[in-house]
Amino acid sequence: MPTTCSSAILRNFVSPFDATVVQLLQAAGAQVVGKSNCDEFGMGSLNTYSIYGPVVNPYQAPTSPESWAVRERRSAGGSSGGSAAAVAAGMCDIALATDTGGSIRLPASYCGVVGLKPSYGIVSRWGVVSYADSLDCVGVLARTAQDVKKAFDVLNVYDDKDPTASRPDVRRRASEAVQKSHWNAEDGLTGLRIGVPQEYFPAELLQSTLTPVRRMLENLASRGAAIIPVSLPSTRFALSAYYVISSAEASSNMARYDGIQFGSYVEPPAGTNKAKTSNVYAYTRAAGFGPEVQRRILLGTYALTADAFDNYFLQAQRVRKLVRADFNRVFSVPNVLFSTPSLPSDAGVHVLLHPSTIRTAPRLPLTANQTRCNNEDTLDAYVQDVLTVPASLAGLPAMSIPAGLGEDGWPVGVSIVGQWGCDDMVLEVGSLCAQLPGC
């Protein structure tokens, strides 16, 4: 089966090896039934940048009078829209996906399913086509938190083929830190401290999305959880930092697609001086990459030029540190990657909870031609990621779970975010939340 990343440049590419995550699932008895659509190389938030066309959200609002086939066409979210849609439509029990800045959580929210982006370094990236290596995480989409956990438990192993994989001793230290966190899933919500970051309710957030989130917080409080307002002041810089870092890494990672060793090759027109490398590559890369990938290559290339490097790339790395420090300040569990092991702080929160997206799934343009241009129905796609990128920058586990329906009758998701290595805690809290009425 080809590995195309929904890109023309890999249209016929068949990888000579399997990803570690695929091997692990198959070894555990899973059957691979297919590969799913996505935004080209994971770059996009609506799964509209794909040689296969956009992914149409399989959801249909209960109030909708039409038949399913002619239902309102909305985006499944991106970039892992195909994985989320396949799970939502019942085509498979679980789907693997990657999440660089929200690519699992966003489609999970839009399609009304559960999506986990694990802590960075917990799941092997060997065999995963890189978009931005310092942010890319492999995660799982499923209809229930239990199904996500089943798959995650198989994938949660150290792989020595991945140089960024967390080593066994770090994993052990993280689980020791969690055990000291004074909260046990068996106690239910009692004693659980949930932080609500005030910066996660930006102006772009639609009111209709807010109602189910508010209802969920009330339910949680009435069942014994402590709801604590917290502040993550660097959040407002996170989106810009994310786009600089991810585009810089993308421009670097996309450099290998030149049609020489593998992938599609476009012959330059007759008479081209082939002695010049750029002349040979330009035609392949111009034809092989879609508009969004080209945009990010240009953006990232600029951010890495000698003149811009300090103001863009280094500045973004500084913001990334601030974002991480924000999170470390609010969690009760210490970050075993950065701090010297300290006792859990009683003032901190166990997890954070916030809306996954700023709205419900946006309407798709009616014709395929319109998917390529900015449409009034399509919000500026980059803003879609504003609530998901901070956890990506900090490498934290984050899971989107369905929280009920918005006023338009479409699914709304909330995200549970935990300290690094607290993936199981995030799964447990998510599972408890999913049992609340209205979810």
Binding site: T3, C5, L10, F13, S15, P16, F17, A19, R125, W126, G127, V128, V129, S130, A132, D133, S134, D160, K161, D162, P163, T164, A248, E249, S251, S252, M254, A255, R256, D258, I260, Q261, F262, K274, A275, T277, S278, V280, Y281, T301, L304, T305, A306, F309, F313
Partner: protein, 525 residues
């Protein structure tokens, strides 16, 4: 209690180097360009002699292998692959840094250097741009009494090879070399002449070979040089430098520098300026030519590699590397001379030793010095070195062979030296006698048999002086050469050699010449 105050060795070295440093800051007049001062800095790229590549477990290649037979998906930059740092390459890098007296950085990191070229499949080379493996070292040049400061040592990937077939109009790409580890060794601009540069590269080459970090083979491209050259009038600040890329022999490098110095002087003397640029070298014309100007210099868009964690090296690791370090050439030379070897014998031995095989992953190959060391255990080092440099190497040279073709073991040669020294074997006094014959025989017939056994087999063991046969041969010789015998009787001792020769002939070389001489003298008294 008073402790003996000793200047630490390192301190002594530094003071000595400072003096030398000072010496070459003073303008040196070069008769080729008496008014000019030449400033040269060199970047050496030495391929690390590791079994597998820098970031993959693919075996490294050599030029004999068919193209694209040592390539893994990672080496060809297939999507989904990730780099895994080969610890052997780090060891050899650290070993080199220690040999160059450099500071091993406790934290170094890997960066991506981007440019598009067909033999660079990922579109970037992983190198250590922002935080190199080691800094501030130095290399002493023995013959030129100079100390060249080393700015830094970094690890990086080699590229593949592309060859353009102009007749077919196609480029062929071979990725065997792609991803092989390189050490980039950057000198400070401390060199002042083409000859300085030549000795620097030769010394560095000998050094990396001696510690096994690289085979340093310039013809095969495992050691390449980029040279920065500038000129200035004495007393004036340094001039604008030009970089000459990809010089792959010491000879051509020296020619390239000389030609570049002349070009820059010609420009300046005619009132024009030297433009900062990157230049190539045309070996046929012995000229450098412009590759690109400073304005055209590519922006490599260096970025920390997000896949590779920082390389953390602690003191214990460095100490371990230091302890496992093979003997450096300077130390070997000093040790051999302390054994009483002449400078010439030391040079010959070390020159032959420098040609020893450089094995993978820093395993120290056995060369002429190790051979000498083993044989000279319990034997006179001067006698041993004579046998190796004169007899063995001489015979090998005669056979158009080198030391690496020698199959005579240290035990065998030691045994041979013993039977000769103990006078048990005829030879070593007159040419063409048994010891040498035996050595020749051993070279001709590869065998594990000991020389003492062989000598017995071939009746080459010396006939002892009380042997009646010896006296008979002597009497016969005196009878056959009456005039010479008379001359000896009259006191002309020199003539005795002719009679000794006759006896040796009768004995077919088995007689001990000294014993024969003694018997003859006694008979002719």
């Amino acid at each position: 209690m008073l402790a003996r105050v000793r200047t630490p060795r390192r301190f002594k070295q530094i003071t000595r180097y400072t003096r030398l440093l000072h010496a070459f800051c003073v303008p040196q007049n070069d008769s080729r360009w008496p008014e000019w001062n030449v400033v040269i800095g060199i970047e050496v790229h030495a391929q690390i002699k590791s079994r597998s590549k820098l970031f993959s477990d693919t075996w490294t290649s050599d030029y004999t292998l068919p193209p694209n037979t040592r390539v893994s998906p990672y080496d060809a930059a297939f999507p989904g692959t990730l780099p895994l740092l080969n610890p052997r390459c780090v060891e050899l890098g650290v070993r080199t840094a220690l040999a160059l007296n450099a500071k091993i950085e406790p934290r170094s990191a890997f960066d991506r250097k981007h440019y598009f070229y067909a033999d660079l499949p990922a579109g970037y080379q992983i190198t250590q741009y922002y935080a190199p493996l080691a800094t501030s070292g130095g290399l002493r040049l023995e013959n030129r009494e100079k100390y060249v400061r080393i700015k830094q040592i970094q690890l990086e990937q080699d590229t593949g090879k592309s060859t353009f077939d102009s007749r077919e109009g196609i480029s062929a790409i071979d990725l065997n070399r792609a991803g092989t580890g390189l050490m980039e060794i950057v000198s400070e601009p401390d060199l002042r002449s083409p000859e300085d540069a030549g000795e620097y590269v030769r010394t560095l080459q000998a050094l990396v070979r001696s510690i096994g970090s690289s085979d340093g083979n310039m013809e095969q491209g495992s050691l390449r040089c980029d040279v920065n050259v500038s000129v200035n009038r004495h007393g004036a600040p340094h001039g604008t430098r030009c970089e000459i890329k990809n010089l792959n022999s010491v000879k051509f490098m020296m020619v390239a520098i000389t030609s570049e110095v002349r070009r820059q002087i010609d420009l300046l003397e005619s009132g024009r300026a030297v433009a900062q640029e990157t230049r190539g070298f045309n070996e046929d014309k012995a000229e450098t030519y412009s590759l690109r100007s400073k304005e055209d210099a590519p922006d490599y868009r260096y970025m920390p590699d997000p896949n590779l964690p920082p390389l953390l090296i602690d003191e214990a690791y460095v100490e371990k590397m230091r302890n496992e370090m093979p003997e450096l050439p300077d130390a070997t030379r000093a040790r051999l001379q302390a054994l009483g070897l002449s400078r010439r014998d030391t040079d010959v031995l070390m020159e032959v030793d420098s040609g020893r095989e450089v094995r993978f992953d820093g395993e120290v190959g056995r060369g002429a010095v190790a051979y000498f060391d083993q044989i000279s255990q319990g034997r006179d080092p001067k006698v041993v070195v004579n046998w190796i440099t004169h007899e063995l190497l001489g015979q090998l040279a005669f056979r158009r062979e080198t030391f690496s073709d020698n199959h005579i073991s240290a035990e065998q040669l030691g045994d041979l030296i013993d039977i000769v020294q103990q006078g048990r074997l005829t030879g070593y006094v007159t040419p063409g006698t048994s010891g040498k014959t035996l050595l020749r025989h051993m070279l001709d017939h590869c065998s594990e048999e000991m020389p003492s056994k062989l000598a017995e087999k071939f009746s080459l063991l010396a006939v002892s002086s009380d042997d009646s046969a010896l006296e008979r041969w002597c009497a016969e010789a005196i009878a056959a050469l009456p005039q010479e015998a008379d001359a000896v009787r009259r006191g002309n001792d020199k003539v005795i050699n002719k009679i000794v020769g006759r006896v040796m002939k009768s004995s077919r070389g088995t007689a001990n010449a000294q014993a024969v001489r003694a018997i003859l003298l006694k008979m002719l008294q």
